[in-house]
Symmetry: C2
Subunit: 389 residues, 2 copies
C-alpha cells in the first residue's frame, strides 16, 4: 500500500521503517499517538497512547500490545535466560507507566483468550485502566520481586515458533506476492511429493475425518483447534508443507493461518482431497475414535491400555481422567520413548483436536494401536464420569 | 429464536415480553445486567449497567441507549409538547445516575455519528464515563435550567418517522416472515403498478444514475446517502413502495434499510432495472448534473437561476453558496410554493445525495428546469470557490 511502517527503534528491524522510541509522537489527523517504551514481553516493546485532540488533552486509549491484557499481563519468559530481567522491566512498564494513565483510559491489547502470550486472558477484547487496576490479579502484586517470581515460575509452555518470532519480525515478513501459491496436486503427484524428505503433510480436516482416513505420516491439525499455535509448535519449520483439506475453499484460509506463525512454505494441496486419494487406490491409514463410554469401558476392562493426556500440564493438574499420564502434545516429540509402542494407547485432550494431533505424532513414530478420544475430557465429564485431581 | 424480550415496563409494549424497571436484574451466566430508569430521550427509556461477576463487583460497562452518546447526549425534543419535561428527566438520568458510575466504566450508546437522535455524536462507538465527564460538552452544563434550554432550542430537524417510532416499537415490529417479499416486475407490469395511487417509486441507485435516466415521479434516494433517515422522513408511509435498484442484489439491502425505519411495504422491484425499462421503450426523465464550475458559471451568468440548499438549517448557517436559499430537503414538501416552477433551479447539498432527492421532489411537483449539483458544497469548495456565512 506504500504506507509507512512504524516500529520500535530498539527492534533494529532490517526492513524500511520509521523507528520510534519513547517521546516520539505520530499525528494522524486529530489523533496523536505518543510512543511509550514498555519492555517486558519483549525487550523492544512499545505502547501507543492515543490523544484525540478533537475532544481533549487526556488520553482516550492505549494500544498496549502484550504488556497489559484484559485480566492478565504479558509473559516475560519467552526469551531464554532473560525472564527475570524482562519481568523486572514489565513491572516498571506497568506500574510506572501504563497504570499512571487516567482511570477512564481505554485499553486495547494485542491479544485476548486463545493466545499463549499470557496466562489467563479474558475473551473480552478491551477494557479500561481503572477496571484493570481494580480487578486484574497480576496488577495487585505490589512487591516487585513477588511479581517477578509469579511470572517466572510455573509458566505455561511456550510454542517453538515463539523462539523464531523476533527474528522473523525483525527482518520483516516475506511479501505475500513472493510466497508460493500452493499448487493443486493430483493424488499420485501428491504421493510423490510426500515421499521426499523435505516435505511434511499437514491435514487440516476435522479430526473425525482424519480418523476416518488419512495419509500415513500426516499431522492432524484440525482447523477448529487453534491451528496456528500448534502448527508453529510441532511442524518442522524447515520443510515444505503439503496440505490436505476438506475442500479447495479451505486451502487459502489454512495457508493464511500458517503464514501468521511464520510458516510460509505451503507448496501444494491434495486436489480432490481424500476422496480423490482413495479413488486413486492409494494406501490410507485410519485412527479409531472412542466415545467417552468406550474410553471408560476400555480403561475398566484392559489393564494394559494407556491413557495419554496431551493437554498443558496445568490443565492436567486441575483435573484428569484416572490413571491417565500427562504428556502435553508438543512433548511427544521428545518423550514418546516413555511409552510402549505396542500398548493400546488412548489419547485424550479437552475436546479431541490436540489429542488427534498427538495421536498422529505417535503414529508417525511407529505406534500402531493408537486411538483418539472424541470429545475429550469435556465429553467424558458431560457423559457423567468423574475426573481426579 | 424463542429468546425472551426484555422491555421497559413503562413502555407498555403489547407484544410478549418481560417488563423491567429500575432495580431489576437480569443474569446471563457471569454477567448481571442491572436496570436503571433513564428517561429523557423517551419517557420509558432504561439503561443496563453490566457487572461481570467473574471479575469484580463494580460495573464494567453500561448500555445507555440514547441517554449518553460519545460526545453528546440524547435528544429530549422528539415528543411534541414534552420537550421541557423530558429534558428535565434527562438531566436527572445523567447527573444523578449515569455519571455516578465509576470513571473506568465503559459506555456503549445505541447510536454514533449519522443518527439524528443526537446533535453532535462522534463516529467512535464507545467511550468511558470518565472520558465523557471530562470532554462531553453537554455534560459540562451544570445548571439544570441551562441544560434544559440548550436541548429545547435550535435543535436539528426531526424526521417524520421519529413520530411513528414509539407506536411501532410499542406494538412490536411485524415479523419478517409476515412481510411481503418484493416481487420482480417486468417494465410494463412495473409501470402499471406505478400508475396506481397507492404506490410510490423509490429509486436507490447512485444519484448519477438517477440523473442519467429515471422514471417520472420517483424519489431519488441514493443508498450512499443515509437512505433510512431520508426515506423515513419524506416517503409517504401509507403507500406500497416500488423499488428501482442498480441490480437485483441491491434489493434485499434496500428492503432491510427501509424496514429499519418502519417502512415495511416494499412490494416490488423493477426487474432488469432501468436498462430493461429503457429497452422496453417506456418513457424516461433525466436530471442534469452540474459540476462546481458549471454551477459557478450559471450563477454568474443567469440572474434568474435559483440555488436551493437542501442541507439542514445549521449546515446552511455555517457556510453556504452566495445567493443560495435554505430549504432543507424535507421542507420542500410544504415550502415548494415559495419557488418559481419555471425558473432554472439548481439544487445543492453537501455531496449531491440530498440535493438529488430534493430535485426529484421538485420534479414531482412540476418543476421542469431542475438541476442537481454533483459533489455539492464539498466539491464547490474543493474546486476553489468560497462560501459565505
Amino acid at each position: 500500500t506504500g504506507a509507512a511502517i512504524y516500529a520500535p527503534n530498539m527492534g533494529k528491524c532490517s526492513f524500511e521503517h520509521v523507528p520510534v522510541a519513547e517521546g516520539d509522537e505520530i499525528t494522524v489527523e486529530d489523533m496523536v499517538l505518543q510512543v511509550v517504551d514498555t519492555p517486558g514481553h519483549t525487550p523492544e516493546h512499545v505502547s501507543y497512547v492515543v490523544i484525540d485532540t478533537s475532544r481533549g488533552t487526556e488520553p482516550v486509549a492505549v494500544f498496549c500490545g502484550d504488556t497489559l491484557f484484559v485480566g492478565d499481563v504479558g509473559r516475560p519468559d519467552l526469551f531464554p535466560g532473560r525472564a527475570h530481567e524482562l519481568a523486572d522491566s514489565l513491572y516498571t512498564s506497568l506500574h510506572d507507566k501504563l497504570l499512571n494513565l487516567p482511570e477512564h483510559c481505554e485499553v486495547y491489547p494485542a491479544h485476548a483468550a486463545g493466545s499463549l502470550c499470557g496466562r489467563a486472558m479474558a475473551a473480552k477484547r478491551q477494557s479500561t485502566i481503572g477496571y484493570e487496576k481494580r480487578y486484574n490479579d497480576a496488577l495487585h502484586i505490589q512487591d516487585r520481586e513477588e511479581f517477578i517470581a509469579s511470572l517466572t515460575t510455573d509458566m505455561p509452555p511456550a510454542p517453538d515458533h515463539f523462539g523464531r518470532c523476533s527474528a522473523i519480525n525483525g527482518r520483516g515478513p516475506a511479501l505475500v506476492s513472493s510466497l508460493p501459491t500452493p499448487r493443486a496436486l493430483a493424488p499420485h503427484e501428491f504421493a510423490a511429493s510426500a515421499s521426499r524428505h523435505d516435505t511434511v503433510i499437514v491435514d487440516v480436516r476435522p479430526y473425525s475425518a482424519f480418523g476416518g482416513q488419512h495419509i500415513a505420516g500426516a499431522f492432524s491439525l484440525d482447523m477448529a483447534g487453534n491451528l496456528p499455535t500448534f502448527a508453529g509448535w510441532v511442524v518442522p519449520p524447515d520443510k515444505d508443507i503439503l496440505l490436505v483439506t476438506a475442500d479447495a475453499g479451505q486451502v487459502s484460509e489454512a495457508v493464511d493461518w500458517l503464514r501468521r506463525v511464520g510458516m510460509d512454505r505451503t507448496v501444494a494441496y491434495l486436489e480432490g482431497g481424500m476422496a480423490a486419494w482413495a479413488t486413486a487406490g492409494l494406501p490410507i491409514r485410519h485412527l479409531p475414535q472412542l466415545s467417552a463410554q468406550e474410553l471408560e469401558e476400555t480403561v475398566a476392562a484392559h489393564a494394559g491400555a494407556i491413557v495419554v493426556d496431551t493437554r498443558a500440564p496445568a490443565e492436567y493438574l486441575a483435573a484428569h481422567i484416572r490413571k491417565s499420564i500427562s504428556m502435553q502434545v508438543a512433548d511427544i516429540r521428545t518423550r514418546f520413548g516413555e511409552l510402549d509402542k505396542s500398548a493400546e494407547t488412548l489419547v485424550v485432550c479437552s475436546t479431541g483436536n490436540r489429542s488427534s494431533l498427538g495421536a498422529s505424532m505417535l503414529m508417525q513414530r511407529g505406534f500402531m494401536n493408537v486411538k483418539n478420544v472424541a470429545g475429550g475430557v469435556t465429553g467424558y465429564v458431560a457423559a457423567g464420569f468423574s475426573l481426579e485431581s
